[in-house]
């Protein structure tokens, strides 16, 4: 395949894309301002609403409470282990690239993304009570 020089080809494209992204950010910020709720009262948890990128984690913790229950100490280790596996992925998957390997990778990745979406859904459908048990 042909290659392109960084200047001016890629630089112009990147500047153009940057302008589009900055424009979109400005539009989002102007139309949908950052939320601000009631003042927090230290020591008193009245509502729990995780940011979207933490919702799989919250979903996992509530699911754990509903099924296994008991101490959170093992539940907390699971996401830590998953992150460690992702961190060490290059040393776990050391096979040569091939059509079969690619298919396996896409399947595993798809399954992982679906699981994250399911856990996020669990977090959004959880009521306050199921979060309350997460607190000491």
């Amino acid at each position: 395949m042909k290659d392109v020089p960084f200047f001016p080809h890629q630089l112009v494209r990147e500047l153009a894309l940057s302008c589009v992204v900055l424009g979109l950010l400005l539009v989002l910020a102007a139309l949908l301002p950052a939320p601000l709720g009631e003042r927090a009262v230290p020591g008193e948890v009245r509502e729990v609403s995780p940011p979207w990128y933490l919702s799989p984690l919250f979903g996992f913790l509530t699911l754990w409470q509903m099924t296994v229950g008991g101490s959170l100490s093992i539940a907390v280790l699971v996401p830590v282990l998953v992150l460690l596996l992702i961190f060490l992925l290059p040393f776990i998957d050391r096979r040569e690239e091939g059509a079969k390997e690619r298919r396996m990778r896409i399947l595993a990745g798809g399954a992982f993304v679906l699981m994250m979406l399911f856990l996020a859904y669990m977090a959004y459908s959880a009521d306050f009570e199921s979060y309350a048990v997460l607190l000491p």
């Binding site: 960084f6 890629q10 940057s18 910020a29 961190f87 998957d93 993304v113």
Partner: protein, 218 residues
């Protein structure tokens, strides 16, 4: 003074002409200029927006349990353009997390984490952690009821880790209860420790991409 003269002046002192020319003339494989390849760059751009808007917000924000919420109200309703800057910070943060996750998915699906790019994958995972901690600590700084509840769960869950959990919490946050002091410590994370870590890791991440080139196994 023309640009050429400025470059001459600098080149006489620093000898950088050849480096600049090489950087500009560097050729990229055409397939690496398509849409999926822009995600890491978008994450970086969003980070730059966070730096600029974050500096502006830090001029008014009070990292203290008693004053934090009021100062966010002040930024939102009184400071000129405060609401816009705060909303930009909010949206660029969300875009940064989304871009990092999608970038990671792209690299994973391409299988680009394998030899010789193991170290850059690991630097990327650390950057993901830094990005998530940025997001979470920033969310806590808002100090409204919703963010307080979520912060309590996130901060207190690791405290139940066996053996070291409570000790870790005490070292990093001082207490195993969320107080105004926790907020001050999360603020330190958000505006000092994480920016330093993120900058160093990004530098490594980009240098490694440059050294190793873009993976072409697809």
């Amino acid at each position: 003074m023309s640009l050429a003269q400025i470059i001459d002046w600098l080149d006489e002192r620093l000898g950088i002409r050849r480096d600049i020319e090489n950087a500009l003339r560097r050729r990229l494989p055409a397939r690496a200029t398509g849409a999926p390849y822009c995600l890491g760059g978008i994450a970086f751009l969003a980070f730059l927006v966070e730096v600029v808007t974050g500096i502006a917000l830090a001029r008014y924000y009070q990292p203290n349990g008693a004053l934090a919420y009021e100062s966010v109200r002040l930024i939102t309703y009184q400071v000129p353009l405060g609401s816009l800057v705060r909303s930009l910070h909010y949206w660029a943060g969300n875009v940064m997390v989304a871009a990092v996750l999608l970038h990671m998915l792209r690299v994973y699906l391409a299988g680009a984490y394998r030899k010789p790019r193991e170290l850059n994958w690991m630097a990327g995972v650390l950057l993901l952690l830094v990005t998530l901690t940025f997001g979470f600590s920033g969310y806590a700084l808002r100090w409204d009821a919703a963010s307080y509840g979520a912060t309590s769960v996130v901060v207190l869950a690791p405290a139940s880790l066996p053996l070291a959990g409570e000790w870790l919490m005490r070292v990093f946050l001082g207490e195993v209860v969320i107080t105004g002091e926790t907020l001050t410590r999360l603020y330190f994370l958000h505006v000092f420790l994480l920016p330093v870590l993120a900058t160093l890791l990004m530098l490594l991440h980009f240098l490694m991409v440059r050294r190793q080139g873009i993976y072409g196994g697809l």
